[in-house]
Subunit: 192 residues, 2 copies
């Protein structure tokens, strides 16, 4: 791994473990095992490091939500994405950044986080609109609204799991979401 990648990886870990305010360039260099010369050759400082680390982390979220565009009926794809394994107590690497006051206050950093959410929400909206169009979900549902509801269930599942220090609230929140989607499922005349 290049020293640049080592520094980016170390910054991602420290953002996660300690938050932005409590992470110093010295901490990042120590974690990466990289000296000051190399560090300031690649990055002007902590902000630039955080931009690159957050971009790498949000890329993973974006890859994952492409499941919503995959095979199967729209409702099947929605349930498949909802029920992906999600280690609840670890938390969402992207969502947690919105709870870091220094990240939210930094226009460039919060834009990276917001962009990753917008991509994921757009995929939810398309899948929900398809489910309504083919008759799997009732026309009373607004895709842009339900997209945010379902994304919120995943993000909130992490919050509840971390509050309890257990995986179970995340799994329960997802099961409840699936049962509510099933209860709302219009089974007649579907063309999916």
């Amino acid at each position: 791994m290049s020293s640049r990648d080592q520094l980016t990886g170390a910054m991602a870990e420290l953002l996660w473990e300690r938050g932005y305010a409590a992470t110093s360039p010295r901490d990042v260099m120590a974690r990466a095992g990289v000296g000051q010369g190399s560090m300031y050759h690649h990055f002007s400082g902590k902000h630039e490091l955080a931009v690159e680390a957050l971009s790498a982390v949000t890329g993973d979220l974006t890859d994952e939500s492409s499941l919503l565009d995959g095979d199967g009926s729209p409702l099947e794809r929605m349930k498949r994405y909802l029920t992906l394994p999600r280690p609840g107590t670890r938390g969402c690497r992207v969502g947690r950044m919105t709870q870091d006051p220094q990240v939210v206050a930094d226009a460039e950093l919060i834009t990276i986080v917001a962009g990753a959410f917008e991509t994921m929400l757009g995929r939810w909206e398309r899948a929900i609109a398809e489910a309504i169009a083919c008759g799997e979900l009732p026309a009373s549902i607004v895709p842009a609204d339900l997209a945010r509801t379902l994304a919120a269930i995943i993000q909130g599942g992490y919050v509840l799991a971390r509050a309890k220090g257990e995986q179970s609230p995340m799994d329960a929140a997802i099961r409840g979401a699936v049962s509510l989607l099933d209860a709302a499922h219009t089974t007649v005349d579907t063309d999916c």
Copy 2:
């Protein structure tokens, strides 16, 4: 206001603005306008201050969720609690604490947060069980699961609102939840 209350209030504000790690006893004294003698008369240090500040903050969440035990049919109460005004970009004062690594690592602090969530989840469960019992929601729904789903929508709504820096994702997530509950609503033979 007593100097004790001023210190607790200042700690609550700083926990919120900066997080636990980035808040020093000196910061709390400066914000409260209280001297070192008074500070160490009331509190042994930062940990004890945080315990008292978090207890005060979680009390507010607990008061609010008592709406779920109020008047009206169970589904009406659930929707009333869901649609309370919630300033999304501010975030949930309790939920955000689960994203602070130093709070999660502190057994006493995370227990206060977990206790507030358990009280709120217990109220959700009772209201959902009543809605099923009187025929407003289908028997396929498990109260303990849906309780976590609905609590997650509120918590996740804050995450999405903070990511975007706008209230709209919170409102959309709540509208989507209400429309899904309405779609799942069993309208025949209710006795609520």
